[in-house]
């Protein structure tokens, strides 16, 4: 057991430093093996105190496609303790009578730029695109996040309990995305979703070729996009091979720590993808370009977790289902650029109908506040096309599917006993335009209450400025 972890020159040395104290005759000490750290900037988020809470009489969309009418749910110890027609009500529990109200799993936005393009959107806050090279996988979105973005408070008031903040799409390899909770902290690490895997933001199509082609450099075309990306993946495969080879030798005792390859932070990220530890979130609009990316992933042995924007997923929904790739989509954005020209309002419903993984995303500081409304429009478009979708099923687009797409589906995304108490109480059926979140719990702590000004956060930026205190 390599029990002692030592950080040496930015590396993690797994060594048996104290082996010499062991009695004679003990097995020889395990060799020292240098490993790139997996999580050098770990979450420092701590759930806020909660209270045992029982919500009674509500209609529940559990986020996994289930619906319970006139049901009960108990939140305890930060978790969903029990859910069903009837649950135990411990003495001293806070009881919420919610007849006529709705309870859902918290909304998870898999595509946000809160913090990296913070409000106000002045040039000084433009921290989302490290557009100095088509590949910046060494850049991490969390190091751009301004924890005082007013947008976090608005997202929370919209029922969001987790969000994935991504770099922009100027680059083919934009950098690492990070999963946060909309809980204000003094550091970004205090907002990080504990244990959530990193993502790698990739982009295809018009943005990278426009940004770099405009500077007369690679890539200036779609073929240039793919050419550049393939070369880098090829480099990443070699980098991984070097580390794998070194690790094998070091574990066998035939390599010293000084034999470890030089760490390249950019390739660390790509190696994490090749190892299956970092999830690829790939900005891509057109169906044909998604299929190119799928072929590239196959060539180099990695997996795309989700295509983002994916306005043409409806054209290849069957292939996306076969590949097990999610589509993170808007309800109705279309036509604002050439690659979104074929966007249709039935996209989400058609992806859903094909049995592929559908996610409603925002990519927008306003849209994140009402993802439930975006899903409602997608449901209506499906119905018009003859694809009726039950509302409890559509809620999976907002919770369990994005949770899975972020690798946190085992912890949140649905209301099941033992999972995080990330819960929203709605004033009306949550796909209605008239519905608003009344209360939002994150890990069982009441972080937003529409009726209690003390449970409505104000970002530092807004203090003392016009409009502070007004309900937003």
């Amino acid at each position: 057991m390599r029990a002692v972890l030592l950080g040496v020159a930015g590396l993690v040395l797994a060594a048996s430093a104290f082996a010499k104290d062991k009695p004679k005759g003990a097995p020889p000490p395990p060799p020292e093996v240098v490993r790139p750290p997996k999580d050098p900037w770990p979450s420092q988020y701590k759930p806020y105190p909660g209270q045992v809470t029982v919500i009674r009489g509500a209609t529940i969309y559990d986020g996994a496609g289930g619906r319970l009418d006139n049901a009960m749910v108990r939140l305890e110890g930060g978790k969903v303790a029990e859910i069903g027609a009837s649950v135990a009500v411990p003495a001293g529990a806070r009881i919420i009578e919610a007849a006529g109200k709705y309870v859902t799993a918290g909304i998870i936005d898999i595509h946000s730029h809160l913090g990296v393009y913070a409000s106000p959107g002045v040039e000084a806050h433009s921290d989302g695109n490290e557009a100095t090279s088509p590949a910046r996988p060494e850049a991490w979105a969390e190091h751009s996040v301004w924890p005082q973005d007013p947008g976090f408070s608005r997202a929370l008031a919209g029922g969001v309990t987790a969000l994935h903040v991504l770099p922009g799409s100027a680059n083919l390899f934009g950098g690492r995305g990070v999963t946060l909770k909309p809980v204000y902290g003094r550091s970004v690490q205090e907002m990080k979703f504990p244990g959530a895997p990193y993502s790698l933001k990739m982009a295809c199509g018009e943005n990278p070729k426009r940004v770099y082609g405009g500077r007369n450099q690679l890539p200036a075309t779609r073929m240039g996009n793919i050419a550049f990306a393939r070369q880098l993946w090829s480099d990443a495969v070699i980098y991984k091979r070097r580390w794998d080879d070194y690790t094998r030798r070091a574990e066998a005792g035939t390599a010293k720590p000084t034999d470890a390859p030089r760490r390249e932070l950019a390739l660390d990220t790509l190696m994490g993808v090749l190892d299956g530890e970092i999830l690829v979130q790939n900005h891509c609009y057109r169906a044909d370009e998604m299929t190119n990316v799928i072929s590239m992933a196959r060539e180099f042995g990695y997996k795309v977790t989700a295509f983002h924007h994916a306005v043409e997923s409806y054209k290849i929904a069957d292939m996306l289902k076969a590949e097990g790739i999610c589509s993170a989509m808007w309800a109705d954005w279309y036509g604002f650029k050439m690659e979104s020209f074929d966007g249709i309002r039935e996209n989400i419903a058609l992806v859903n109908a094909a049995g592929a993984c559908a996610i409603v995303h925002s990519d927008d500081e306003n849209g994140i506040q009402r993802l439930n409304q975006e899903a409602a429009k997608a449901m209506a478009a499906g119905r018009r096309l003859g694809l009726p979708i039950a509302p409890e099923l559509a809620w999976t687009w907002l919770s369990l599917n994005p949770a899975k797409g972020l690798g946190i589906g085992d912890r949140t995304g649905s209301l099941e006993a033992g999972k995080a108490a990330d819960v929203v109480l709605w004033s009306a059926e949550p796909f209605s335009v008239y519905a608003r979140p009344m209360q939002v719990w994150i890990d069982g702590a009441l972080m937003y209450d529409w009726g209690d000004p003390k449970r409505r956060p104000t970002a530092d930026f807004e203090l003392g400025l016009p409009g502070v205190g007004e309900v937003k």
Partner: protein
């Protein structure tokens, strides 16, 4: 008749206003006049105009009858600001005629000359219940960006129903940038251009003889601004910061005939009483709630409710600054204004006010006296919905403009139908099936 109607709608053609009157019966009618709701009502139109509406209206002999039972009938949605017909693909510059920052001219630009009735966005908006719209420029070589138009989205009839309907002007941060770098520069540009327009109007012959050769403005721009000065044209002013709005309100003291309309107006609620007293209407969005810049620090969804309560005529427009904004979503934006009233501390609109904010009020602001409500004598711009029109899950089942039933298809519906079934057959999907 109904079967014929359906066949023609599928064929993608507008059905011309029938020779005989048409009666929609049994519908819940929201007139957009106050909170008036007529349950089980009948509306009759003929020759493109509403000739009867109410709960006890007889169906005229020979009328085509449309069963509206279980449906809701509203006036057509009116987009108080849009780029419909003048911008096709935002990211493809040459398909856009909404801005002309390199032009030698500014106020003179006449947007009606660019309106394309065959724009795919017109078809998409039309089948979503949008029947009329203001088409506005977005940025020019002076703070005056040009003259907007009012269009009908109807198939068959004229699209531009009023050219040169309003002048569009940038104030605040954008106006400052265009004018040379500051708000005072923008106000100086305004004062100078209007003064030159006044001098030209007062003495065109003198201008022709070169007596105003030191003028900064182009003659065409001055001529256009004469329409603003004498109130023939409304002046649509984009301003967000409360102090900019207050400055705009002072315009009327200097130019008494001018008719300002505020656009954006995110901080308007801070000076709502002043706006109401000045009688200046406001076009804003119901979902502005972030400090997007330093002229919108006080943004709140309560804005519209405060303005309504102060007595301002408010229209909800599909304005920028809210991602994915389109005219198609106007009913949802109105519904959100209703929801805002339900939040503790929230200020919003009643359902009647919200519907008026996307029908009657924009009609009034755009000078469309004969649209915007369901009343006898008004144009038969009608939308029949399968549910509450402000709900996100409701869809129009039929749309009439000037009494003509409109096609309910678009490029988007064609794409959806093409890709509804992905299975491989004898020929690629690109062949007709």
């Amino acid at each position: 008749m109904k079967r014929l109607l359906a066949a023609m709608l599928l064929a993608g053609a507008a059905v011309p206003a029938a020779a005989a009157p048409t009666a929609i019966i049994g519908a819940t009618i929201l007139t957009a006049r106050g909170e008036t709701v007529i349950v089980g009502g009948t509306l009759v139109f003929d020759n493109g105009r509403i000739i009867a509406v109410g709960s006890q209206v007889p169906v005229p002999a020979g009328a085509a009858v449309i069963d509206g039972k279980g449906r809701i009938l509203t006036p057509g949605i009116i987009a108080a600001a849009s780029d419909l017909g003048i911008a096709e693909v935002t990211g493809v510059r040459e398909t856009n005629d909404d801005s002309a920052r390199q032009s030698a001219f500014s106020a003179a630009l006449d947007l009606s000359t660019a309106v394309n009735p065959r724009s795919l966005h017109i078809a998409i908006s039309r089948m979503a219940g949008v029947t009329r719209a203001a088409v506005l420029p977005d940025g020019g070589s002076s703070i005056f960006a040009g003259q907007g138009a009012v269009i009908s989205l109807g198939v068959g009839g004229p699209t531009v129903v009023r050219a040169r309907a309003m002048q569009y002007m940038e104030m605040g941060e954008t106006g400052a940038r265009i004018a040379g770098g500051s708000r005072p520069a923008a106000w100086a540009q305004l004062a100078n251009m209007l003064a030159e327009a006044q001098r030209l109007a007062a003495n065109p012959a003198g201008f022709a003889r070169g007596q105003d050769s030191g003028a900064l403005a182009k003659r065409l721009d001055m001529e256009a601004l004469a329409h603003v000065l004498d109130g023939r044209q409304a002046l649509f002013i984009h301003a967000d910061r409360a102090s900019d709005i207050s400055e705009v309100l002072r315009l009327k003291a200097r130019y008494p005939a001018i008719r300002p309309v505020l656009l954006g107006a995110r901080e308007a609620w801070l000076v709502a009483g002043d706006i109401a007293r000045a009688g200046v209407p406001v076009i804003t969005h119901s979902l502005y709630d972030l400090p997007d810049d330093f002229e919108s620090l006080a943004s709140t969804r309560n804005n519209i409710g405060h303005l309504q309560a102060a007595g301002v005529i408010v229209a909800i427009g599909p304005l920028g600054g809210v991602g994915g904004t389109t005219p198609v979503n106007l009913p949802g934006y109105a519904g959100n204004a209703v929801a805002q009233a339900s939040v503790p501390g929230g200020k919003g609109l009643t359902r009647g006010q919200a519907l008026a904010a996307i029908t009657a009020n924009p009609a009034r602001i755009l000078g469309l006296a004969d649209t915007g409500t369901l009343e006898v004598g008004k144009r038969a711009d009608l939308v029949l919905w399968d549910g509450d029109p402000l709900e996100l899950t409701s869809i129009p089942v039929a749309v009439w403009i000037d009494g003509a039933a409109q096609p309910m298809t678009s490029r988007q519906t064609e794409l959806a139908n093409r890709y509804k079934a992905l299975g491989r057959t004898d020929l690629p999907l690109q062949y007709p099936r």
